[in-house]
Symmetry: C2
Subunit: 886 residues, 2 copies
């Protein structure tokens, strides 16, 4: 038979699935012998059963009764006893913390009878009256769903009548009258009086906690935090202790280390004569734990010992909640504390130094996501800031620019070289172009899965969303900060996507210390020291190599400084832009093979130069060069734009002969679905001279480097292969070119030819392809597009936010690899490829190569390396290390 209720003494911290985080940790503290008010936990299974059946499981009432009886016995008090009543709190506690999302009811057990007992026992009539009033308002709003505003209004009226603004000025009569008013409100709005039966109070409160799992805000929160829907919450029923029983009482919260900086030493707040809620609400000024030592040295000493015990026991920084009731310290909660990225790195290293944890564990305590946050440029800490408002930190970074209110102005101004920040109530697909050209995006509505947030993260644009204090009035070109200034179109603002802060004016931006360290600068900072030591540890542990995606010698050099062990993807199409675009145009509009050859011949020395420099920057390390991939028309003007231009020229009688020829070419090459068109290896087969020229440039560059005493290690990669035959056709040509150059130059060339695996068919026939490929590089961007059948450009804006909200995927499959679908193809291809060719080298060069979760997956699949953008290289190194010990 399932057990639905556990006494605190029967649990432990590893039972979070069953008891929730709060319950498991209360049990742990109880068993550590710490002073925890006794109580019991109703399990998440009970909640799941309730949610599924719509009613509590049959056994639950009896089990609660048993545990309640034991609790009454332990405390020597009975719930509802008119002489000396037991009061309990009822708190939710899910497996994952959902702050502010779930329900709490205090003082359960008070009624018209037991209030007298409480008054007698506490010798404090006012305290008893106030406790009952608090029960009524909490129970009324939380359990009975009466609008809490009604209770606030009532108390405000009472204070107004009294001519005061402080609760404390209300005396016992005022509070009794107020309780009667509350009871009336409850009866009016629920059709029945406030339940006087304490057990009924308890049962209703438990059910209210169960129900709170499915409130809209809880559902939305879980979606945004990727918490599964079916976990349910546990419910903790615990004997009440009171921090508001005079100056020898009080409540506090604390951390065993500073959660912001990671500094060693406890950190926290204390408020005398207050309940826990009051500390957080900030209605009075709290004091530090140091100051508490002077007020109540005994409790403080005990607290310090307990915090040390907890940190040693949990082997991590803990946060705690406690109450002192008339000089007696009670622990109400503990858990491993949340911390900033900086604190995470510093605490991890400190604890390793203290011998509390191993370096492996220290490495597990930090994440690539945290490291990435430490690498974003940040607003200079020292600079003056004028905070306007705070919204949601939707996409990190620090952006400064002029405010614009529509996409067209954004495009206009950006074209003129202005930095702009696009400000909208919310964005829609129409704003896309404007978002692309902006430094940052700011909205007054929508959460972290809103269109603005999703698209901005996809683009790597800084974004603050849902800044509700802003009233955006695009029509008049301005926004108003609630109770603050008006900002007009063209005014400068600064937004911090990491904190969600919005500042007036231009806040100076500084490079992150961590980046300066990676760049090889001498940075003397405790944080940098922690990062360095954890990176070194990750490097010694990891199996997975980390390369970079780099198309220029500068990028290559920077990535190398960041720890890249080669280039996993050097795109060559970027080398056809700029002043070379004209040559490419010649190639495309060529009317004979001779013209085509001539254009290619002009491109050859330029390409050779490109490759020579990149091979030099990566001397001694592998450089995977992908032959040209995109459709040729990408190098020509846009079809629609040019058509419009020529039509207008026609009307005006202009000639424009060259452009007419160009339009012919553009029309000829126009494709309905260029992503599914003449690109990659198809292009290499249809215009064989193109791949041959590029391969020649690579190999001649290698020959030149060898002659200059270098150690070039180029790898030629064929994109978009679907069938081994395509690869073979191209490979044969490249090998012929290699032989020719070897003979002409008299050097032994390193010739390595491999292929992208980016089409489902390539993955499905990997065993046929492997014998013709020295390496596979998974192009997970295209593979994701083809496997899901949607293109990143076209759909992210159109329906991704809706798909995220309705749970089709928890995160964009372009961000973190879809392990079930796309990942299944990667795994299949890796296994089949290796079986067919044991020395096959395997890597990934899609953007997933820099995503933490994906890196763990690729490590698990057994790839040899991941490749990512230079800035992601340290992240990938760290995660590869974490994966190796995980």
């Amino acid at each position: 038979m399932t057990t639905y209720v556990y006494d605190f003494a029967d649990g432990n911290k590893d039972l979070k699935d069953l008891l929730g985080g709060k319950g498991a940790n209360l049990a742990e503290m109880t068993n550590l012998g710490l002073p925890v008010p006794p109580g019991f936990t109703i399990t998440t299974q009970a909640c799941q059963a309730y949610l599924q059946a719509g009613t509590e499981p049959d056994e639950l009432a009896a089990e609660i009764g048993d545990h309640l009886a034991r609790l009454e016995q332990k405390m020597g008090r009975r719930l509802g006893d008119p002489d000396d009543p037991l009061l309990v709190s009822v708190r939710s506690g899910a497996k994952f913390s959902m702050p502010g999302m779930m329900e709490t009811v205090l003082n359960i057990g008070l009624n018209h009878e037991s209030i007298r007992g409480l008054a007698t026992q506490s010798d404090n009539e006012r305290f008893a009256a106030d406790s009952y009033r608090r029960l009524l308002s909490m129970f009324g709003s939380t359990v009975l769903h009466v609008d809490s505003e009604l209770f606030s209004e009532a108390i405000d009226e009472a204070k107004k009548a009294k001519g005061t603004t402080a609760d404390l000025d209300l005396d016992v009569d005022d509070l009794r009258a107020l309780a009667q008013r509350y009871e009336k409100i409850i009866e009016e709005h629920t059709g029945r009086p406030f339940p006087q039966d304490p057990r009924e109070q308890l049962d209703l409160a438990v059910r209210a906690v169960f129900d709170s799992w499915n409130t809209e805000r809880a559902v939305l929160y879980r979606r945004s935090e990727r918490i599964p829907e079916d976990l349910g919450t546990a419910v903790n029923v615990q004997a009440m202790v009171f921090g508001n029983r005079g100056m020898s009482s009080g409540s506090g919260v604390g951390f065993t280390r500073d959660p912001a900086s990671g500094h060693q030493g406890v950190y926290g707040d204390y408020l005398a004569n207050a309940q826990g809620e009051d500390v957080v609400a900030g209605i009075r000024n709290t004091v530090s734990l140091d100051d508490m030592a002077e007020m109540d040295p005994t409790s403080h000493d005990e607290l310090m010992q307990i915090m040390a015990t907890l940190e040693n026991h949990y082997r991590d920084m803990c946060d705690i909640e406690f109450t002192v009731e008339q000089g007696k310290l009670w622990m109400l909660q503990t858990r491993v504390g949340k911390r900033t990225p900086e604190a995470a790195f510093r605490i991890a290293v400190h604890m390793a130094d203290e011998g509390l944890i191993t370096m492996d564990e220290a490495l597990q305590r930090v994440t690539g996501q945290q490291l990435a946050q430490l690498m974003f440029p940040r607003f200079d800490d020292a600079a003056r800031r004028d905070l306007l408002a705070t919204g949601m930190n939707a996409s990190p970074g620090a952006a400064v620019g002029k405010v614009v209110f529509d996409w067209a102005t954004a495009v206009d101004w950006a074209e003129k070289g202005e930095d702009v920040i696009l400000v909208r109530k919310e964005t829609s697909p129409e704003d896309l172009h404007g978002m692309m050209v902006s430094k940052g995006i700011l909205t007054s509505r929508g959460g972290k899965t809103s269109h603005a947030a999703v698209v901005a993260r996809g683009m790597g644009r800084t974004c603050v969303c849902g800044a509700e204090a802003l009233d955006v009035d695009a029509r008049h070109g301005r926004f108003t900060v609630r109770g603050g200034p008006v900002i007009h179109e063209g005014d400068l603002i600064s937004i911090d996507g990491t904190t969600g802060e919005i500042f007036a004016g231009a806040v100076p931006v500084a490079d992150s210390h961590v980046v300066r360290y990676f760049e090889g600068q001498d940075v003397d900072e405790p944080l940098v020291d922690a990062v360095r030591r954890l990176m070194e540890h990750a490097d010694t542990k990891r199996r997975l190599h980390v390369r970079t995606n780099a198309d220029t010698p500068d990028d290559a050099a920077r990535a190398r400084r960041f720890g890249a062990e080669g280039i996993g993807l050097c795109r060559t199409e970027h080398m056809f832009l700029g002043d070379r675009r004209l040559l490419v145009e010649h190639l495309i509009v060529a009317e004979s093979e001779e013209e085509q050859e001539a254009a290619l011949a002009e491109l050859l020395p330029l390409q050779r130069q490109d490759f020579t420099q990149i091979l030099e920057a990566m001397d001694g390390l592998p450089v995977t060069i992908r032959l040209i991939d995109p459709p040729l028309h990408e190098f020509l003007p846009d079809y629609t734009e040019l058509s419009v231009k020529m039509a207008v020229a026609d009307v005006r009688g202009h000639r424009k002969r060259h452009e007419r020829k160009l339009l012919d070419a553009v029309r000829r090459l126009h494709e309905q679905n260029p992503m599914l068109g003449l690109r990659g290896v198809r292009l290499g087969i249809v215009i064989p001279g193109l791949f041959v020229m590029q391969s020649r440039a690579v190999l001649e560059a290698a020959a030149a480097r060898i002659k200059a005493g270098g150690d070039p290690r180029p790898e030629i990669m064929i994109p978009l292969v679907a069938s081994v035959r395509e690869l073979e056709l191209v490979r044969t040509k490249i090998l012929a070119v290699a032989r020719e150059i070897q003979e002409a130059e008299g050097v032994e060339l390193p010739v390595h030819i491999g292929t992208m695996i980016e089409l489902p068919r390539a993955a499905l026939t990997a065993e046929q392809i492997a014998p013709s490929a020295e390496f596979f590089s998974f192009g997970t961007n295209d593979l994701t597009q083809m496997t899901w059948g949607f293109s990143r450009d076209d759909v992210e804006a159109a329906f991704f936010s809706q798909y995220l909200e309705s749970g089709v995927f928890p995160v964009s499959p372009f961000e973190s690899i879809d392990q079930e679908g796309v990942g299944a193809l990667v795994r299949r291809a890796a296994e089949a490829g290796r079986q067919a060719r044991p020395d096959l080298h395997l890597g990934v060069c899609g953007e997933h190569g820099g995503d933490p979760e994906s890196i763990h997956f690729f490590d698990d699949v057994g790839l040899d390396y991941v490749s990512c953008s230079p800035f992601r290289v340290p992240v990938a190194r760290l995660e590869a290390g974490r994966s190796a010990i995980g």
Copy 2:
């Protein structure tokens, strides 16, 4: 040890892989005791070994020597014997017949010595001299690669000198002089004299046959016939017999039944005093086999007996080659004879009636391809025809139209309602639009894998290509038939894509008899009777059901007459065209949900009407209705065209308010890759009202049909699902609509909801999807696009011809399913889906559902049905039957 040479007596007809078709059948006839000149076969393995190593295997020479010695012993003659020489023929013979592609050398063994013995033995000096001359020219051109024109010129000169045009007028001295001239030509062009050593002659001839496997024309032929490259050819060495030794000698060819009509009774040609080559060359008029009976009754009787024996033995219609040498009949070749589609059906049924084969075997003797050919409209047999030329039959059908020479004119004229035939030297992607609007395509260059041929087949357009007798002069708008008339732009022509014939003027087109039979007309024709009986047999045997793709009641009714057992794909997008386009436009440009709902409300009754009629036409049979799939902008004007129009309007100062609003919508919905865009279930989630309206229309139509006493069996199909969650979101809404209608109408509705499997991810997660789908329908068109990563529209024209030529695929994967790649996904999804849900119903609705090879694959995978266009339904029924017994 490998045996490279087999005596005819050691082989049999089942060893075609090893002995080639000719060798295996010669062996079979030898073992049947038929009069076959003795000889031996050098195996395909010897050829493969030679081609791989570039030299004959070591053992080959000795083995040939052994078999030659045995042959000499059997014949009582020695090769090169000056007194009584053995002469042999050397003929290629691959596994698959490659007519005219491979080499033959006769009279091997003749030299300056043995010619005397031949003269003595044959008592015919002239015969001996002529035989040597023939050897020289055949050996010279075939083995030594001397231009055969040189020999032709020499004999023409000799005849001219003699004042004659007939070979027979050359006497023995003339022939001797000619032989000397030939010998001189050979020495001049090869640098060495004609080899007098008979064994050297033999060895060189064998090698020449091996080499002929890789001549360009052989390679091209194999590609077009999809014969594997690595088979190699066998070589048959056989004692010569001579049909040219006077009027008691002769040669002939024959079939055991008429290969054109299938009529019972032998059919063939005989030529007295001639070698086999002369019969085929048609230099003198042949006589029928009946007439041969009068000339040589003994040989004729023996021949008739042998033909009967062969047909009984092979249990099929055979073709034969024979020679009579001075009254003695010799069989030189037999094989199962090629036949027309009509003959195939008639012969199969006749043989079953005769008890020679079973009905199962009869069914195996015909193909869906043949049935399809019998269903094409054909030029009326009775009509007058004026044949201009014959090209290659690239894409079947009969097309009549006015000649145009460029795509623009084709489009212009077609828009005016003219039937046009596009005539080009060759086509390029630029011609695509023109090809689409033409009734037929005619080119003067390029083969069956040329751009024109591939694209035309893809579109189902009639096409004749490579009509080399045409001189196309597009600039002057005309083509000239070599030695014939000039055809101008606008003149009517008729082209037959089934035969490759081109006619002047409009030849009347007639419906095929077979189609008239399927349509239910009373057709009294032997062919139709044969088709009927084989179709009935197929229907009793097949496991696979056959449905149709039909969007209209008319199509549904026709397909039902053709034997369809339901609709596998009813596309609903076609129902949004025509006068409803405006409503769709309203839906798209709607600026509020109310406007959207209003547009949908107008569409609802129209859709209901559509479905009611289709359900009526398919009463009692399943009708799978796919909810709308294509991106909405397909219902709007083209982005580029509209942009141009508005830009021109701007310049001219026109207002065009409505169109401006439209352009905004078009721009907003414009996608870079619509195939990968907002379509299918994505559309259904983003605009939920759309799918709900369609489902309502389906279910209300079903309710109406039930009330009218009908038996509607709709199945609602969700397109483009990648993840089960998408399906679930839509399914929940449809089920709610169904409940609502059931309550409102008071009927029990048949509610079946399933999904397309057309994205790789759906196939890869089929086990997750199956529990939410009652059926899977494989959309193999999209699945092929996504798996290969190319879109049909964009790439077929651009590189398919090149891919076919270079062997990347043997046939377009859009035509016949790619079993290794796309097929692997289908198989995986079928198996995983069935495992997760044993009652899952499986079908396919891509165009592959009508392709014979694909049908066998789908049967093998275990699908429940295929669905194809109405005209393909009989083909699919036939192939499903063949697959079941295969």
